[in-house]
């Protein structure tokens, strides 16, 4: 199990309004072992054909951190990981900006890929975040609907 009680966490979860820096997150993970591979996923705000002015990300403080931490722990149990970092932003995010980052480090590449992919799949459906669209015409658009394929994506880990 990764160490969670010290300053040097092999699992790092952040819910923040600010942007993140992938390079420094990878460097952070390098302290935890003899890393052979790092897989990352960055989720960005799409512009949806130019109509969108921003997404507004609402979250459930406390539960969001706890859920993502639990997902990261599951990933550690399932795959041979050295460290994992997950950062999710909230607030207004413009097209082209970052929304979410997952970075997984391992001795071997497949575990790194699987760790990042697994955390993303479960974060999508289990972490309490909601997206609302703000449109360029100034109107507040719809809440984004959950997708069946996001639920289905979790099946590959059974």
């Amino acid at each position: 199990m990764p160490n969670q009680d010290h300053n040097n966490l092999a699992i790092r979860v952040q819910i923040q309004a600010e942007d993140f820096d992938l390079e420094s997150e990878i460097n952070h993970l390098k302290q935890f072992g003899d890393i052979g591979g790092v897989a990352s996923f960055t989720g960005l705000c799409r512009d949806e054909g130019g109509q969108l002015s921003a997404l507004e990300l609402e979250h459930y403080p406390g539960m969001a951190e706890a859920q993502i931490l639990e997902i990261c722990h599951e990933a550690f149990k399932k795959f041979d990981l050295i460290g994992i970092t997950a950062i999710h932003r909230f607030g207004k995010i413009a097209p082209g900006e970052n929304i979410v980052l997952v970075v997984a480090a391992s001795t071997h590449r497949q575990a790194a890929f699987d760790g990042a992919n697994f955390v993303m799949d479960f974060l999508k459906t289990d972490a309490p975040f909601w997206k609302k669209e703000h449109l360029k015409d100034g109107s507040s658009g719809e809440w984004v609907d959950a997708k069946d394929k996001d639920d289905a994506a979790k099946d590959k880990w059974r």
Binding site: G43, L57, E58, H59, Y60, G62, M63, A64, A66, Q67, H88, I99, V100, M120, L123, K124, T125, D126, A127, P128, F129, W130, K131, K132, W143, V144, D145, A146, D150
Partner: protein, 84 residues
Amino acid sequence: MIKLVYFAWVRERIGKSQEEMNLPENVVTIADLIAYLRTLDDGYEAAFQEPQVIRAALDKTHSLHDAIIGDAKEIAFFPPMTGG
């Protein structure tokens, strides 16, 4: 007294993000609470008109509608999540 918190369009339809409430004695499960809330006014009714799409959490842990509320301090209601 229990704290109720609402997110996304559940929050918008009810018109507040949180409130404290004394639950009636016959409210035992989350489903009971949803049924009770729907009787309060049109906002709750609009929020919970399709209860099967509503997700709930007891003390920040995902919970099914048949879960017993027991001595939970906080119950959250929200639509399916769309983060990531």
